[in-house]
Symmetry: D2
Subunit: 258 residues, 4 copies
């Protein structure tokens, strides 16, 4: 006979007159006192942020909300066209595309920083950075968090994120290692490889104690907000049907001639 394991959650519960979320009384402790960004921090760490942490977390989270016309935003709009009764389905379709290509590198960068810093207390950060760059070079792999194919010479989001972190006392070992990796990589590969938005977010999220396994979640929750904005625009000023019509015309034009 299989032995049952217990089911447990700390997420929340309620009685007829009270709602408890992560140990807080929603109506008395949170409503009117805590912002949406702070609630997100609570979900990611099981505690409310300090005022400094709140500034830094909100800064990194808003960076991820809106990237204009992305494959994910288009997927959401096209889905809405076929199922306008299901706003949730359109957002879900958009979120399904937030995978390894666009959001995944954030997780990889956070994992790298957190594992290296947790792992080897004997080495100093310069040595760690040097080792990391050499290791990736040997495997001919791209180091996550540095360089950008479009935002050149510098990803404009990285410097303000780092200075917000510094102004709020959150520029610790993870931020430092991320920067040293960029320096070491630039020397080794002899080309500009500044920390990008992904690297800065991964470093600051690590300073905030957000575990790498859930760092992608920051991008997903932020983009859910942006996707709702895209569907709102699609309702008011649609483009999905026109896109479909154009693609269909061009993509089947050779077939039609045969």
């Amino acid at each position: 006979m299989r032995r049952q394991s217990p089911l447990q959650t700390k997420s929340g519960w309620s009685t007829p007159d009270r709602i408890i979320v992560k140990g807080f009384d929603l109506c008395q402790d949170l409503m009117g006192k805590v912002s949406l960004g702070d609630m997100a921090f609570l979900e990611l760490t099981d505690r409310l942020p300090s005022p400094s942490e709140s500034v830094a977390f909100n800064a990194l989270a808003i960076t991820l909300v809106e990237h204009g016309i992305t494959p994910s935003a288009l997927a959401a709009r096209l889905t809405y066209t076929g199922a306008p009764e299901s706003l949730q389905g359109a957002v879900a379709a958009g979120i399904s595309g937030l995978g390894s290509v666009f959001v995944g590198s954030m997780e990889n960068a956070a994992r790298l920083l957190q594992e290296e810093i947790a792992g080897d207390s004997a080495k100093d950060l310069d040595e760690l950075a040097h080792d990391i760059v050499n290791r990736y070079a040997e495997k001919r792999q791209k180091i996550p968090g540095i360089g950008h194919h479009f935002h050149k010479p510098v990803d404009p989001r990285a410097p303000p994120l780092f200075s917000i972190a510094e102004d709020n006392g959150l520029s610790g070992k993870h931020v430092s290692l991320m920067r040293k990796i960029s320096d070491a990589a630039e020397k080794k590969l002899d080309k500009p490889l500044p920390v990008n938005a992904t690297g800065a977010i991964a470093a600051v999220a690590s300073e905030l104690g957000i575990e790498w396994r859930i760092v992608k979640g920051i991008g997903i929750m932020a983009r859910a907000i942006g996707l709702v904005g895209h569907i709102r625009e699609e309702i008011a000023n649609p483009m999905a049907r026109e896109i479909k019509a154009r693609v269909e015309e061009e993509a089947t034009s050779l077939l039609r001639k045969t």
Copy 2:
């Protein structure tokens, strides 16, 4: 020949050194200055909130983040179990369940308030409320936004939402109509039918100028945040496999005996 219609967005765009979101320079105007909740308001209305609007919007948004063990949270956790490589897929699955049963009534309540107030300037709010209650009673339909099967006698989220709205100068016609509908319904049906969380959120969202067609989107973005929290808990302290094992054992036990 089909005539093409133009494709246009106001969502955002970027150059190598600048990122524009809804007309704002992300790095100069938004990062470090604007919270995640205010970004959500921007996506829902195309403008940043005033400080008062920000307080009210954040209060209503956080109300929707975390409802503990819901079917949606369980769907997200079960999905993660089969596809841990795809955090986005688990959140998408959870969001797919935010439909007519749990989030839909918010849209219905907002639509009712916004259409009634936009529609008939001759009637005063008392008359409107009276008419609405009679109309629903004739069709034997439930009025959205009042009463609650579990949170009795009063949904504890409604009073603080209304007082936050009032404290911030946002207790206008929509809030007033929602309350008058509750009063009129209680008289007509002779039982307690106080405004519930759904009704309060719909009323305050309407005061904030958020169109009813996208009101469900507030619930979806908020719950995306909560779903990330559930998957984080599932990683650390899983329950999905145990749930599956228990359900399978019980649900197939009769079959196994034959």
Copy 3:
């Protein structure tokens, strides 16, 4: 204390050496003997089809597999671009768009036929058809299952479906009512309104005993097959990134000039 209700399934179960699906031994009774279409029939009705039913069901199911470039196929392709690690996420995104606009009318037509035929045994089918047409005309609603904006004068899928049904002894009351509705509507509205693919599928599915509540499911399972085909083509000969690039260029061109 809440009273538990029992959990039960007839879907399937297994032991180390046997797998039972809907009461059949998968390895002995089904593999090599039953086709994918027949398994789908089994899932939709809890029984295997007769040879005649199999022909008719497979004919209607394959009609729904592939519609070329649809919003749903594009959503799947765009999703794959961002998350190639998750083929399942791309298919899920495509399926999320199979809603009221493209697949919903099948459900509505099947519901109409099944409710009318189950409901009023006193009237003959001509009377029923006449009443239905009048009822929809009064409410100024479109009758599901007749007319087509593109496939004119006749949807080419309807006649072969009806003749396959007839050849297989499955041209009963539901098929007859669907045709009579078309005749009555053409007379009443004085324009060609032949039964379309949706109407023919709904009628034949009803003859096969498939309940209207799950008729949309035939479209969803069929299109899941087609979506896998689209992702296969996207892997070999991608278009999603090009679509995104073109839309972005055009849709943000006005913003870039300001």
Copy 4:
């Protein structure tokens, strides 16, 4: 200026009186002549199967339709409970969980077989199998396609799949290599490691010319069919709300005591 690349599809297109799918006239060439399984084969390979291929493909596809109570089936049912207006959303949620844990090994096994057989024509299959087993043993990785934690001593689906393949002239190099890998692994590791369903499906799919990159798609399309069956059962005999209630009660019981 970016150079546009052309958009092209071979999926299908239509005129008012014809519908072309993968080069076939849907109404004349396919309806009534081709089964749902054969359409699936067409989507996976761009050609219709021979009668022998059809038997083998249908056999492997139906193996994947229904696995009883799985996390994926439960996610679909829970999603339906919250959004009954969106059957498609429930299926999409279920599909989102068909990831690396449950369907992924099929892809890995097919990749292994196809790459090894395409790669090294000098070695014979015994050598290849021997090398593969040693390589995985060195990396201490599990070889995909052999052994099963539950179906012991032999996965009952593998032998009939292999004999159907053999009876239909489809027992070629891929099937042979899969079996030799099992033999070599059993010798090397000195324990029973027979080919499992995943390995047999991967081998036979490879014989059928289905590329490993899309092999997971067979599982996804098959399970979409099964998920529709689960939602049909959920409508008639629901379990999702009861599951949610039970989990909530147990998982929050400790919190309630504090």
